[in-house]
């Protein structure tokens, strides 16, 4: 039956209200997990705080497992969901730039919004930076078009790329996450806890 809006179970006119409600949930969880603090976020790169990895990987785990079971229960048609198209060159270039941005700014866009919401000035500056960055990118677009459209593979999934099934990927991801959780908690014990 799902996705409900795409399949016509919910009128698309409701989508903005639904977006607002889901956004509230998203923002609430991010803030409550501590993602509004840049020092907590950056901790993942220095070994004093692994909240990011824990929240992030658990969330992906839950969604992956959920989607596999939803699909089995015939609740959601996985061919009807949006798959981010892969432009390999572009996504790697973008990922590297974002990696630098993450370490320097200590936020990512979603978390900076939560920081702004609780009155963090650095988050506000980060958001302003985002605005400038996107403006710079868009204005320079004719020059960087080739990178943007580089390495096009279309909306492929990991099943298409590596030939592993959804179930197997989910299983491997869960294994990997649990291993990461155990390793990071050992690392955290060894790294002196920074004063937050």
């Amino acid at each position: 039956m799902g996705p409900l809006i795409t399949q016509g179970y919910i009128d698309p006119e409701w989508s903005n209200l639904i977006a607002l409600i889901l956004g509230i949930g998203f923002g609430f969880v991010l803030e409550a997990s501590g993602f509004s603090s840049s020092r907590k976020l950056a901790g993942v790169f220095y070994g004093y705080d692994f909240t990011v990895i824990r929240v992030f990987m658990t969330a992906i785990m839950v969604t992956l497992i959920g989607l596999v079971y939803f699909n089995y229960m015939v609740w959601i048609d996985l061919t009807k969901i949006f798959i981010l198209p892969t432009f390999l060159t572009s996504v790697i270039v973008g990922g590297v730039i974002m990696g630098f941005g993450f370490v320097m700014g200590g936020y990512c866009p979603g978390t900076s919004f939560t920081g702004v919401a609780i009155g963090k000035l650095d988050a506000l500056f980060f958001t302003a930076g985002l605005y400038i960055g996107i403006f710079v990118f868009s204005s320079a677009f004719p020059l960087i078009k080739d990178i943007y459209y580089g390495g096009e593979l279309g909306p492929v999934t990991l099943t298409d790329t590596f030939g592993i099934s959804k179930g197997l990927f989910t299983f491997l991801f869960v294994l990997m996450s649990i291993a990461a959780f155990i390793v990071t908690s050992i690392i955290k014990k060894k790294v002196k806890k920074a004063e937050l």
Partner: protein, 178 residues
């Protein structure tokens, strides 16, 4: 149970694994209802597009990148992600109120740097994230989180690229944080 003082209470976050499960459920529900994941940088992009369209409408329409997001029947701000982002602000504010974390403009920074340095690097980081998120066709939420959760190859690659680069370059910026 002892009543903790505000300072201490504001550092009480929910268990990260519990937070992860909640975030996963929100994401799952989003995909189940709308068929797409969560996002964040898209709202800023819409704002940029709307501003440029307001100031220079003909340029915006003809330019390759802005033109992609401008249509006659829909205002550029009338997108799913803009509303979702308004929700993020509300949700985070509510959570901040409950936990006593809402304060009027303050800068969080490592004791080794001045607030000014922190603000400069926050802005720089924002600029880089803004550029990177356009190349990646999504940020940490839109590409890495939602992308990987829907098993999109691009999402998985983005996640590895973002965190991989983060770890590789973290050493050079250590003074900012520890």
């Amino acid at each position: 149970m002892q009543i903790k003082n505000l300072e201490e209470r504001s550092k009480q976050y929910i268990n990260p694994y519990f937070g992860g499960v909640l975030l996963g459920l929100v994401l799952l529900l989003t995909i189940f209802i709308t068929g797409r994941g969560l996002g964040a940088s898209g709202a800023v992009k819409s704002t940029v597009v709307a501003t440029v369209e307001k100031i220079a409408p003909t340029y915006a329409e003809k330019q390759d990148y802005y033109g992609k997001f401008i249509s006659d029947d829909k205002h550029p701000m009338n997108t799913w992600l803009v509303f979702e982002t308004i929700g993020i602000f509300i949700g985070a504010f509510l959570s901040g109120i409950f936990a006593g974390r809402v304060k009027k403009f303050h800068v969080e920074h490592s004791p080794k740097i001045t607030p000014k340095t922190r603000l400069i690097f926050a802005t720089l980081g924002g600029v880089l994230f803004g550029i990177g998120s356009q190349f990646g066709r999504g940020c940490t939420s839109g590409a890495a989180l939602s992308g990987t959760a829907t098993m999109a190859t691009a999402g998985f690659v983005a996640m590895i690229a973002i965190f991989g680069t983060g770890y590789l370059v973290a050493w050079f910026f250590r003074k900012l944080w520890i």
